[in-house]
């Protein structure tokens, strides 16, 4: 299973990114880590190039929302990305925010899994459950 990951925008918080890299590898994924300060195009290009199954975006510094809104418009320019699991986590708003509201908003931006201030391992467990469910559905 291939995963493209990185931190979106001008965000340079690198610590979580390093841990995500380690944890994904430990769970057996093939990881393409674009690091911090990565723009949406770079993410999508990498997914196409590597044929990744999962795109896992981090955002820590509060920029996420601005980028979230750009996802759908940009996606129309790419083909064959419909099956890619889109996941985002970190600090998804500036300051505090209502978790349900955040979930709703980011799902509407096109993300399958939204992990606002959710611990990495919990998030990766969610990813696994999601992937299993999908396999079962496509097998059924």
């Amino acid at each position: 299973m291939k995963v493209v990951t990185g931190v979106v925008g001008n965000d340079i918080h690198v610590v979580a990114n390093r841990l995500i890299d380690l944890s994904l590898r430990a769970r057996g994924y093939e990881v393409f880590n674009l690091g911090v300060n990565t723009y949406l195009e770079e993410f999508f290009d990498a997914v196409v190039e590597t044929g990744a199954d999962v795109l896992l975006i981090s955002s820590l510094n509060g920029e996420a929302e601005g980028w979230g809104r750009e996802v759908k418009p940009l996606l129309t320019q790419y083909k064959k990305l419909d099956d890619v699991v889109m996941m985002i986590g970190g600090n998804l708003v500036v300051g505090r925010g209502d978790p349900d509201e955040i979930q709703r908003k980011y799902k509407s931006y096109g993300f399958d899994l939204v992990c606002h201030q959710i611990d990495l391992n919990t998030g990766l467990d969610m990813l696994e459950t999601h992937l299993e469910k999908r396999t079962q559905e496509s097998n059924a």
Binding site: V14, V15, N37, G97
Partner: protein, 456 residues
Amino acid sequence: MSLLQEERKIILSNEFVDAFDFAEVTDFVKNASKELFISHHFKKNKNKKMMVQPRGGFPTYEKQYALYEFFLKANVDVLPLTVDSNTRLNDYATAQKMLRLSEENNIDMLNGYPLVTHGYRTTRKMITHFDKPVSLRHGTPDARLLIETAIASGIFEIEGGPITYLLPYSKNFPLDKAFLYWKYVERVCANYSQLNEPINRESFGPLTATMVPPSITIVIQLLEMLLSLEEGVKSFSVSFAQQGSMMQDIVTGAVLKKLARFYAEEIGCGDADIHLVYHQWMGAFPMNRDYADQLINMSTVIASMVGADKIITKTCEEAVGIPTKEANAKTVANTQYTLRILNGLPSVVDEEEEEILTLEVKAIMEAVFNDPADTLWRKVFNCIKSGIIDVPFSPHIINHNEMITLRDAQKNIRIIKRGNVPMPDRCYEYHKSQCDLSKDTTSIVNDIIHDIGIMQ
């Protein structure tokens, strides 16, 4: 006209600057209230009361003013002026647009005060009104215009430096350019320092706030200090952040103070005033606000043990999001209270640790000085590039990322892989002997993960 002055004219003839009046500004600085100069407070602060400085910046003049009023009530010693990220990236057009939007709609569209956009004439009113020293916090690699505007506004302490504002804050900005832009800043500060009390420069010791060993922090502090004193700056603050072990903090403070003095004298700048600044824990914070308050209080106690001249505070909302002004003011009041009731501090010395750390720092400094380049900044540039200086968890492409650190049982940060850093073998063996390295790689990786989240 000197080359510098020509460069200044170009920098200040920016379309976003409203007619910079050199003569008027010179005059202002010459006659400015001593109260505005932190260098003056450092000097007259005889009984060594640690100064307290919070963090914080808002887009509009009104909000920044309100923040300062709040801080004053909490008995602040030094006011912060934190600049927004567009201004940091020299994107003054966006800053202007966002400031307008913020003013019109009464919501914050910027994460700090757009100093260049407000300009020095406006900002100076606020600064002189409060008549407290203000510290400029930014994170800008090219801060030339920003610093000119700051000093013209009455902001007489400038934080940052070519290394400390770059390696933790940027991925791609060219390091050599950062050195040149900061050289300009140092010289402008040095020039203004001749008119009244000196402008104070402060380095940003926390770096990435994540597993940076004291030797690396100290080397970078010393180098930024030397680069600044070289240009004529007369008042400089070295700094570092809480590291996780009280003992290691005490040792770091002691060695940093001694070596700062030592190297300043080595380059014939023994007349400069050098101060020590301590940052409350800058790494990952606990989500629980009560716990965060404990951590902050403990930071203050440790800062006192270290004997810092100034402390820069955090708030209980750190892990949650941008702190409110209430949370910020609460921390200031709490920190002042703690300093008031904390008494009878023992003076603590750990000679072995001091010796090891001094050896490490001197070895790295020597390697820097031995680099064949002609100027100090080029030597430093080369050493960062070659990994002689290596900052754990730096996002910058030029950083080597070969050094690996771990915490020992006492939570001291130890170097278990030195990479290209010329650590003397004796020190390296000492570091490794403090850790249990018989574990397998997975356990060590788990230890690193645990060590990052140490305060949670």
